[in-house]
């Protein structure tokens, strides 16, 4: 997979993950192009399109479009499966996910994606394992982030 984009029906980018090195300018151009092309497609149209020398696989979930760019020989259906799997993961993690969850916790959405895909390849096909890894990492984070009151900090010094 070359990259993954999440954007809203209004064309606002919600998440982007690039697995190929590209300059910011190119990234912007590509995402702008793609968002326009995909939003222009009618709902009844199929989820695949050929774009430059890549294949674009996208799917709409509520108000969000999930869009992946894969290479010519890649399997479109398994890419759809990856998108679906990611949505399921988000859903499990946030508990019936909505666009706002992803906007406000965008770093979490990235963490989940990073546990699921690495370098553009699926690294873990078991949903359970992905969520376990995320939960444990979150736990680690919370341990480190035990809120310390201002007073406590003064007292410590």
């Amino acid at each position: 997979m070359q990259f993954m984009l999440l954007f809203s029906r209004q064309g606002k980018l919600r998440l982007q993950k690039w697995y190929v090195p590209l300059s910011d300018k190119e990234r912007k151009k590509i995402s702008r192009d793609l968002v326009q092309t995909i939003l222009a497609r009618k709902p009844k149209m199929c989820s695949f399109l050929e774009w430059r020398d890549l294949k674009i696989v996208y799917k709409r979930y509520a108000s969000l479009y999930f869009c992946c760019a894969v290479e010519d020989q890649d399997n479109e259906l398994i890419t759809l499966e990856i998108i679906h799997r990611y949505v399921e993961l988000l859903d499990k993690y946030f508990g019936s996910v909505c666009e706002l969850d992803i906007i406000f916790n965008f770093e979490k959405a990235y963490f989940i994606l990073d546990e699921f895909l690495l370098g553009g390849e699926a690294q873990e096909t078991s949903k359970k394992n992905v969520l376990k890894a995320i939960e444990q990492a979150d736990l680690l984070q919370e341990e480190a982030e035990v809120p310390r009151s201002v007073l406590e900090e003064i007292g410590l010094t």
Partner: protein, 1150 residues
């Protein structure tokens, strides 16, 4: 100090966190940019503080802003700071920011090397995890080089979580630092058999990605992947492996044979559409790479097509789309199988989804034949009329033209029909493809001589009705066809019925509103017409009228703003005037005028220029003169057929408005006329030319949407031709039947006559309506065949084309950190670290130089095995791996000897032997191989498949190859039904110089107990540029008894039972002077005689094989000193004797 910290904490409380930022942005929709710029200022302040929590928060916000498209590269250093925090919370954010914001040109990346290394070896697996994840996004060549060794170490980490990530990231490392591939590959390969399924699937992923790009280096892994494929149940992994095989089969056709069965099984059994689709795709790829001729392959194709039909019929648009896509791949090699689904594909043209319609169109392109072309195009024409949206309509138009013109108009039987289709297409509104239609008209008129008369008549009508084409502003694009029409009428004016009328049409004042380049062609061709009129009757009324018309009308063009038009017009005007003057003096001049336009234009092949051979001794790169100090060479622009011309400013504005107005009036008038029964309809040519009225701009112009397709009067409709063609074919058929009947009657007297059933009409039966000679495009003499190398030199995967089977050299080790790190890190992997590096070194020393050959022969051996999917791999390792699992303790001593014997092993293990050869062609015979489906053949006699590789050794083209064998009583070559017992089989391909291809022939055997020798001949035509000769090559096919044996694995208990049963006859043989190691001996028997090892104890082994007719053959092989004794048992003594003789012979040769 305390105060400072208090202050920091309080600040923190008032800082915006990410949520606040997002909320803020949402609340400031109107002035987002302004709000964000204040936020960025705040963030800059926050980043200046010492508190890492504040910094991390700031960086988190920056990451969000980066996604919104703001430049945050200025904060790169702060990101690195946050990355190096010791707290996981911040580190995580730092790495996330880095992975989103860094790219190769970010210069602070080089500062991160040590930090990343530290994190990689952190005792906390999640630290390592985020570092790996981050690295996968921003790895640079430098980072890859410096960290390759660390990551490789992590591939053997105790935690699968880390191993999995490390394996995956290696792919990115390879891409950036290709030198790391060879040292890391052995370990990567190991991971294919990792106990953790996640790690295993990661390794499969990486190797598949590598292999897809450079398949030939990974062929030796085929057996391993085959095993994985038949054992794995994980669809994600299966898809990758199957895709990998798809890439490997073109390199090794035998692999394809082996794959077909497990793949078809998967197709039948899987419920996952993605897997099904992948299997179908790979089966298609396999079948494309195999040459046709195998009887059971058509079944596989049928299966694929059936499954695809189900996909296409599905209501899910995605499946429909993919089904069509895959169908188009089959189409290339098996058009017949797809053609039977024409109905379905035509249905898809009505789909709501444009992308599906376009796919269906692509398919139609390949489905046409002489028989159905008219029908398909007729359907498409209907769609053209219905289509909404110009893009799709234009696409239809180009497809119609593509379909008709493909492979040099191969499928067109009636060019009159095609011309009328083209004329009908000119009615299309708003198409951009006028030039395409025009170039088709030109091409057909020039290259199909027989059609010129008809084409000229059509074009003359078009010219006469030019106003219909140019009338509407929207129809600008289509007026390009007038270019072609004018040129055709002028160039082939001898075919014109009424040249005067056409001349008049070409010189109407309205022509001056056409684009310049079209006017220029009009003027030039008016001159040609004039010459024709002059020739037809000098001094006649017509010619004087023509003269007057030229003199009267040409001045309009002389005033043209277009230079080309002006120049041509004034030249021709002067010429006409001069002719007039001469004629007044009674000078005969027609012949001289016609001579101006004499000579025929021939089409030149598009590549002709490129193919002109460079004369000997001419160096195109050498300077003719000394180079000027600063050369200003201007590249000449390639000239298109039609120069695209921008409308000139000088053209008065109101003419355009006038055009609309005219169109409108004409339309209104036409409708009036149509509804007025008393109106006598005039011929279109007599329509009055409207004069421009002053002040037309003020009249409000209403655009009329012409929903009624404009019909050019007087033009034949293409539909007529479809009907005519149908009648003609029916008549042809009837004629043929009559003739056949007659023949039959005649033959009945003679006794046996061949029966022809006149079933469905075949391609060859359709005779073209006209004798069409398509003028071929001209090529320069001595044209060189040139291959265009289209490999992209910038492809990053090219660097990974590395031979992985070669042993590692000393200088190929991965760079290991040489200096001492300042702090000694405690990590769980460190203990492992040392021995790993060491084993790397030892493997360099110990790696036997055999690896290449043994790998290759391993593969060869594996491939030549009978494909019994679940057991094949058990037998496979025996050949190359000297320590088979069954007897692993047996021969440790023989191991060191191995390097010595490799040369001996190398040659005889080749699977192909020379069959026959002459100066033209070489035939190589593959070890006769059994038909895949063993069970099916046990009863009904037995089939043996022979693969022959034909290699063209000469400089000429070899075609019409026919393979024939003199059948014996016992063995027969299988010929297609209906052909005689002595008919030759034609080889299903032709051979260009230097090319080789493989064909398979199926033989039926009555008895297999005796070896067979069959005499055969191959006849073929050697075609040179100027001559062709018939040649013949004789050969002898030798079927050994071993070739009737199928490698069949057998368990030791079953083997023991078999021996005890007492049904078997005994025989034995002794071989003297065998010096090869025992395992080589066994490998040889396995390889050449299709046995498998049942059990091996020290220098004694039992082996088993089965014949295609189900005879059991058991061997007990013992060796002592240099003597090998083989005791054998079989239920068929003759067969056994022959097999033993063959074994003996094998070993006497070496």
């Amino acid at each position: 100090m305390a105060l400072k910290i208090v202050k920091g904490s309080i600040d923190r409380m008032f800082d915006k966190n990410l949520q606040d930022l997002v909320r803020g942005i949402r609340n400031h929709k109107e002035e987002e940019a302004k709000y964000i710029s204040t936020c960025i200022d705040e963030i800059k302040q926050e980043l200046k503080q010492d508190n890492i929590a504040v910094k991390a928060n700031a960086v988190c916000k920056l990451t969000y802003l980066q996604m919104l498209g703001y430049d945050v590269s200025w904060a790169a250093f702060n990101i690195v700071e946050v990355m190096s925090s010791s707290k996981f919370t911040y580190k995580r954010i730092g790495y996330l920011a880095a992975s989103q914001c860094f790219h190769e040109s970010t210069d602070v990346i080089m500062l991160t090397t040590n930090q990343i290394r530290k994190d990689l070896s952190s005792p906390n697996q999640y630290d390592t995890g985020v570092a790996l994840t981050g690295l996968s996004c921003f790895v640079t060549p430098d980072l890859a080089r410096d960290l390759a060794n660390d990551i490789m170490t992590l591939m053997s980490h105790t935690k699968p979580y880390i191993r999995k990530k490390a394996v995956l990231i290696m792919y990115k490392v390879f891409l950036k630092y290709p030198e790391s591939l060879r040292p890391a590959f052995p370990r990567l390969k190991e991971k294919l058999e990792d106990p953790d399924p996640g790690v295993q699937s990661a390794a499969v992923n990486v190797i598949c990605e590598l292999a897809r790009r450079n398949p030939k280096n990974y062929l030796s892994l085929a057996p391993l992947f085959f095993k994985l494929m038949t054992s794995s149940t994980n669809n994600w992994v299966l898809i990758k492996i199957i895709k990998l095989f798809g890439a490997l089969t073109p390199l090794e056709p035998r692999l394809g044979k082996k794959l077909i069965e497990p793949l078809t099984n998967l197709i039948h059994s899987t419920s996952a559409m993605s897997l099904l689709y992948e299997c179908v795709n790979t089966v298609i790829a396999v079948l494309i790479s195999l040459s046709s001729g195998m009887p059971n392959h058509s079944a596989s194709i049928q299966l694929c097509v059936q499954k695809l039909r189900i996909l296409i019929e599905d209501s899910d648009q995605n499946l429909k789309y993919l089904g069509l896509l895959a169908m188009s791949k089959i189409l290339k090699t098996h058009p017949k199988s797809v053609q039977s689904h024409k109905d379905l594909i035509l249905q898809c043209l009505d789909d709501k989804d444009e992308s599906i319609r376009l796919r269906a169109l692509d398919l139609l392109y390949g489905m046409v034949s002489k028989k159905n072309l008219m029908e398909i195009v007729k359907k498409l024409m209907l769609h053209v009329d219905k289509a909404e949206g110009t893009t799709y309509r234009d696409e239809l138009l180009t497809k119609i033209i593509d379909i008709c013109s493909q492979s040099n108009y191969q499928y067109i039987t009636n060019f009159e029909w095609y011309i009328s289709i083209l004329v009908e297409l000119t009615r299309l509104e708003g198409t951009r493809h006028g030039h395409l239609i025009a170039s088709q008209m030109l091409d057909v008129a020039i290259r199909v001589k027989a059609i010129r008369g008809f084409a000229v008549a059509q074009m003359a009508t078009l010219l006469d009705n030019a106003h219909l084409l140019t009338g509407n502003v929207q129809r600008k694009g289509i007026c390009e066809v007038l270019y072609a029409a004018a040129w055709i009428c002028g160039e082939f004016s001898e075919h014109l019925e009424n040249p005067m009328q056409t001349l008049e049409a070409m010189l109407r004042p309205k022509v001056a509103t056409l684009p310049g380049h079209i006017q220029a062609v009009y003027v030039q061709n008016a001159a040609k017409l004039f010459a024709t009129v002059l020739k037809s009757g000098e001094g006649s009324a017509d010619s004087t009228a023509a003269q007057e018309m030229m003199i009267e009308r040409l001045p309009l063009f002389v005033q043209s703003a277009n230079l080309e038009v002006q120049e041509r017009a004034s030249c021709i005007l002067q010429l006409v005037k001069y002719i007039q003057k001469l004629q007044q003096k009674d000078v005969e001049i027609a012949e001289e005028v016609i001579a101006l336009f004499a000579g025929e234009l021939n089409p030149v092949a598009p590549k002709a220029q490129k193919k002109v051979p460079v004369p000997e001794g001419l160096d195109l790169d050498a300077w003719i003169n000394e180079p000027p100090s600063e050369s200003e060479s201007e590249d000449e622009q390639p000239r298109a057929i039609f120069s695209k011309e921008e409308p000139k400013y000088s053209r008065p504005r109101h003419t355009e408005v006038d055009e609309k107005e005219l169109a409108k009036r004409r339309e209104v008038r036409k409708q009036e006329q149509a509804s007025n029964p008393f109106y006598i309809k005039s011929s279109p040519s007599s329509q009055k030319v409207y004069q421009e009225g002053p002040g037309v701009e003020h009249i409000p112009v209403v655009q009329i949407d012409l929903t009624v397709p404009l019909k050019v009067p007087g033009l034949p409709m293409s539909d007529q031709y479809v009907k005519l063609e149908e009648e003609r074919r029916q008549k042809d058929r009837a004629d043929k039947k009559k003739k056949e009947k007659k023949k039959r009657k005649e033959k009945r007297g003679g006794g046996r006559g061949k029966k022809h059933d006149s079933g469905p009409e075949s391609e060859e039966d359709i005779t073209p309506a006209h004798m069409v000679d398509i003028v071929t495009e001209e090529m320069p003499e001595n044209a060189l065949p040139s291959d265009d190398d289209d490999k992209d030199p910038n492809d990053p995967h090219k660097a990974l084309d590395i031979d992985l089977d070669k042993p590692l050299a000393d200088n190929e080790k991965l760079p290991v950190r040489s200096h001492r790190a300042a702090e000694v890190l405690k990590s769980p992997t460190e203990d492992e670290d040392e021995p790993v590096v060491q084993s790397e070194e030892t493997s360099v020393v110990a790696a036997p130089p055999t690896s290449t050959t043994s790998e290759v022969s391993d593969l060869d051996f594996w491939l030549s095995n009978a494909p019994v999917p679940s057991n094949a791999q058990e037998a496979a390792p025996v050949a190359a791996d000297p320590v088979p699992e069954a007897a692993s303790g047996a021969a440790p001593d023989s191991e060191p000897e191995e390097p010595k014997d490799t040369e001996a092993e190398e040659t005889p293990m080749s699977n192909y032997c020379l069959l026959a050869e002459n100066s033209y062609i070489k035939m190589m015979l593959e070890d006769a191989d059994q038909v895949n489906d063993i069970q099916g053949n046990l009863q009904d006699g037995s089939q043996v498949v022979v693969s022959v590789i034909f290699e063209n050794k000469c400089e000429s083209f070899l075609k019409s190859m026919e393979f024939n064998v003199l059948d014996s009583l016992n063995s027969k070559l299988q010929r297609p039904e209906g052909s005689g017992a002595h008919d030759a089989l034609s080889v299903p391909f032709q051979l260009p110089p230097g090319v080789s291809n493989e064909a398979r022939f199926v033989f039926t055997m009555q008895s297999i107990v005796m070896p067979q020798k069959l005499k055969g001949t191959l006849t073929f035509i050697v075609k040179n540029e100027d001559s062709s000769t018939h040649e013949k090559l004789e050969f002898k096919l030798h079927f050994t008894c071993s070739s009737y044996l199928i490698t069949t694995p057998c368990y030791s208990d079953a083997f023991a039972k078999l021996l005890e049963s007492g049904d078997l006859k005994c025989s034995s043989v002794k071989l003297e002077g065998i010096s090869m190691p025992f395992h080589h001996l066994l490998a040889k028997i396995c390889f050449h005689h299709h046995f498998s090892v049942v059990e091996r104890i020290d220098s004694c082994a039992s082996m088993y094989s089965r014949s295609i007719q189900g005879h059991h053959v058991c061997l007990l092989v013992k060796t002592s000193e240099q003597t090998v004794s083989i005791d054998a048992k079989c239920d068929e003594p003759t067969l056994l004797g022959n097999v033993l003789d063959e074994i003996k012979q094998t070993f006497s040769q070496c």
